[in-house]
C-alpha cells in the first residue's frame, strides 16, 4: 500500500470524529511517514509496519479505557450491573422518559400546526370564499384576518425554533444517558 491510500482509508474510517480531531490524528501519521522516510524506509514498508488503517481507525473511534493490565470487574459483576440497570431503567426511567418525549412531540406538532394555520389564514385573507370557514361571532375584515395570519405565522415559527433547541438538547441528553449506561455495563 502507498501512503496516499493509507491516509485516505484512515481518514475515511475516522469520519465519525470531528474534523479537528481527525486532522490531529492524521498529523501524527504524516509525522510518522516523514520520520520513516528520513530513516530510509519506503512508503510500502512504513504502511506494512503500521498495519491495517481501518483497524487503526477503529481504535480511535471505539470504546476508550482499554489499557489495564488485568481486566477489572468480573463477569458476574457485569451481569449484576446490567440486570440492575435494566431494572432501574424499566421502573424509574422509562415511564418519565416516554412522558417527556411524548410532551415534546406534542409541542412540536403544535408548533408546526400553528405555523401552518397562520400561513393558511394569511393566504385565506385573499380568498373571500374562505371567510365563511372562519367561524367567529363577529364579522372580520380583510386586514384583521391578514395581520392575524402573519402574527400567527410568526408565533408558530418562533415556537418551531424554540422546539428545535428543546429537541436538540433532549437528544443530547438521551445520548449522554445511553453512553453512561453502556459505560456501566462495560465496567469502565
Amino acid at each position: 500500500m502507498r501512503k496516499d491510500e493509507f491516509m485516505k482509508r484512515l481518514n475515511d474510517s475516522l469520519y465519525s470524529l470531528g474534523r479537528d480531531e481527525r486532522e490531529e490524528i492524521i498529523y501524527d501519521y504524516e509525522e510518522h511517514f516523514e520520520n520513516g522516510f528520513a530513516d530510509g524506509l519506503t512508503e510500502e514498508e512504513i504502511c506494512y509496519n503500521l498495519g491495517n488503517p481501518d483497524k487503526i481507525a477503529s481504535s480511535y473511534t471505539g470504546h476508550r479505557n482499554r489499557y489495564k493490565v488485568e481486566p477489572r470487574g468480573t463477569v458476574g459483576g457485569g451481569i449484576f450491573a446490567t440486570l440492575a440497570l435494566i431494572f432501574i431503567n424499566l421502573i424509574f426511567v422509562l415511564g418519565p422518559a416516554l412522558g417527556i418525549i411524548g410532551v415534546v412531540f406534542g409541542f412540536c406538532i403544535a408548533a408546526i400546526s400553528i405555523s401552518f394555520s397562520g400561513l393558511a389564514l394569511t393566504l385565506g385573507a385573499f380568498i373571500p370564499v374562505a371567510y365563511s370557514y372562519i367561524t367567529l361571532p363577529f364579522q372580520l375584515s380583510f386586514i384583521t384576518i391578514f395581520f392575524t395570519g402573519i402574527g400567527l405565522t410568526a408565533l408558530g415559527l418562533l415556537f418551531c425554533i424554540g422546539m428545535y433547541f428543546v429537541v436538540k438538547y433532549l437528544i443530547i441528553g438521551i445520548k449522554y444517558y445511553i453512553d453512561f449506561n453502556v459505560k456501566i455495563i462495560k465496567g469502565a
Binding site: D28, H32, N35, L50, G51, S59, Y67, V69, E70
Partner: protein, 102 residues
C-alpha cells in the same frame, strides 16, 4: 498474544519510556517495536488516549530539517499511573510464575 492484554502492557511500556525522557511518536514506536512485535499503528491511538486521560501532555518542537515534532511528556498523574501499572504487572507476572512452577 492476546490483544487486550498486549494493549495493557503497551500502556505500561509507553508510560515507562516517556517517564525516562520526553519522546516523539516515531521514537516511541521504534523503541517498543525493537523488543515487542506490534503493528506500529497501535501506538498512536494509545498515545492519544493517554493524552486525553491527562497521563501524558504534548508539545511541539522544531526538528532539524523537518516539520515540528510532537513530543510527549509525562504528567504527575501519568507517573502515578505508571507506578500502579508496574505494580499490577509485577504482581500479575509473579502469579503466572507461580502457576508455571506448580
Amino acid at each position: 498474544m492476546n490483544i487486550q492484554f498486549k494493549k495493557g502492557v503497551l500502556a505500561l511500556c509507553v508510560l515507562t519510556l516517556v517517564a525516562k525522557k520526553d519522546c516523539y511518536g516515531y521514537e516511541l514506536v521504534q523503541a517498543i517495536s525493537e523488543d515487542i512485535e506490534i503493528s506500529e499503528g497501535t501506538i498512536y491511538p494509545l498515545l492519544r488516549r493517554l493524552s486525553k486521560d491527562n497521563l501524558l501532555s504534548t508539545y511541539l518542537k522544531e526538528s532539524d530539517g523537518g516539520p515540528p515534532r510532537k513530543y510527549y511528556k509525562i504528567t504527575p498523574e501519568g507517573l502515578r499511573k505508571q507506578m500502579d501499572l508496574e505494580d499490577e504487572w509485577k504482581d500479575f507476572s509473579k502469579k503466572v510464575e507461580r502457576i508455571l512452577r506448580r
